[in-house]
Symmetry: C2
Subunit: 269 residues, 2 copies
């Protein structure tokens, strides 16, 4: 069991930011990444559809004998984590609770903003997680649907990205928050722009690093940490053609992806 | 056969602009519309995936005994029309050829621009169709990936939409075109902005009306036009939750959608 890989899934590329942190913190763990690029994005779809997709993604990872699954997708974590934890026989970690915990730790005024896809924001998952940890906190949640296509277009740092960020974030500026959760794995790539709009008084929380810490702690606790000591390999699967994933994925993973394979998911109804 | 419905499919909402024109021109024809909203968008996905989705969409419509199928999605028309026409036993019409024909008719200088999703532009389908009709024409094709999410966000006519259009279209301004094909069913909703950027010397071509004319001619030719005379009904199916489709669809269809049903597609591998 110790030598089995960690499974990580996302709707597409965004979860590579989480994988990158996991690999940095746990360099001896093998990983299997699944990006559901044939059905990306999840964030504009209904809860029922997101739950079905998350179950299919997890089943694929389980067929590869993973010892733990990370739902490295905010939309899937927000809508499907409870059901994944109920039906799977390996531990499942989402990105919401680690992000919420990091935000509660960072805030001084208790005024926390959350940005994400429509499906993540509509789920109220961050708000619930934050209020569970800090009942006195005041949260301000906002969907920013254009941020994902903006990042995928590679427009992370131009005038148009800045105008879009200004238009969305004006509400949160007025709410006088001191901490802002980047509740989508694409958003760290817009960190520069978001920081410029929100100013130096607002701490930006990126769940990726916080999630890697939770993964490490859980492996420790369950006694399934791989301590073989050698540099581990990372396998990549996608549901659409692997070519584009390999090309664009490098930007998210932070280093070159050598190759990815096509995954065929079993349909659940 | 004459009384059977016309089937129309799209990756999501965009094809409703085509349905709207078909219903206007052929008010006595029953129609069945399928929007594959659980897997939208198609325009960022590979040819193989788009072909598989188009075959699954068409099979669903065939199970409803349609007499003719319209691929009311530029990405599906560009990548899958030939295979749909080969495997189905009813006539299949795409939106590319009607759009190309309308562009060739409209141009005076023979310099024609084409904008669309990445998958449509990469397919070269418009360029081939235009050059087949007018070998002397010069075409300039450009992908505008942010236009679809922009329309879905409802930002059809603000400063940000204008900046994005300016940034994309500068290349086509320099190419000195006199005709521009809106090669995606979402783009007619950005007509105002695109016209502002391109100026009055450029004619914008929207395939929807041209496609409806081709549908009408084909029904006539095959002798399967419904001439019963009464106002026909329109049925709507989607693969994700129908609620959002009904809410947002009105903007594309031009009139209120009363209800839509959930469709379960058979997977082909």
């Amino acid at each position: 069991m110790k030598n089995n890989p960690i499974g990580i899934f996302d709707s597409g590329l965004g979860g590579l930011t989480v994988l990158s942190e996991v690999a940095r913190l746990l360099p001896t763990e093998e990983t299997i990444y699944l990006g559901d690029t044939a059905r990306v994005p999840y964030g504009i779809k209904s809860k029922e559809t997101v739950v079905r997709y998350a179950l299919e993604d997890a089943a694929f990872l389980q067929s590869h004998k993973v010892k733990l699954i990370v739902a490295a997708c905010n939309t899937a974590s927000a809508n499907a984590l409870d059901i994944l934890q109920k039906v799977l026989n390996v531990p499942v970690i989402g990105v919401i609770e680690p992000g919420a915990r990091a935000a509660v730790k960072a805030t001084k005024t208790g005024r926390i903003g959350i940005i994400g896809t429509s499906a993540t924001i509509d789920s109220n998952a961050y708000t619930s997680a934050i209020v569970d940890l800090a009942p006195e906190a005041k949260t301000f949640a906002l969907a920013c649907p254009l941020f994902v296509p903006l990042v995928e277009e590679g427009w992370n740092d131009n005038e148009i990205a800045l105008s879009i960020a200004k238009k969305y974030l004006v509400e949160l500026q007025e709410a006088d928050i001191d901490t802002l959760v980047l509740g989508c794995t694409h958003y760290p790539l817009l960190k520069g722009i978001i920081a410029k709009v929100m100013g130096p008084g607002v701490t930006l929380i990126d769940s990726a690093a916080a999630t890697a810490t939770v993964v490490s702690a859980l492996l420790e606790k369950e006694g399934i940490k791989n301590s073989s000591g050698s540099n581990a390999s990372h396998a990549f699967f996608v549901t659409d053609s692997p070519d584009n994933f390999v090309k664009v994925g490098t930007r998210f993973f932070g280093k070159r992806l050598n190759c990815a394979s096509l995954a065929e998911l079993e349909r659940r109804s």
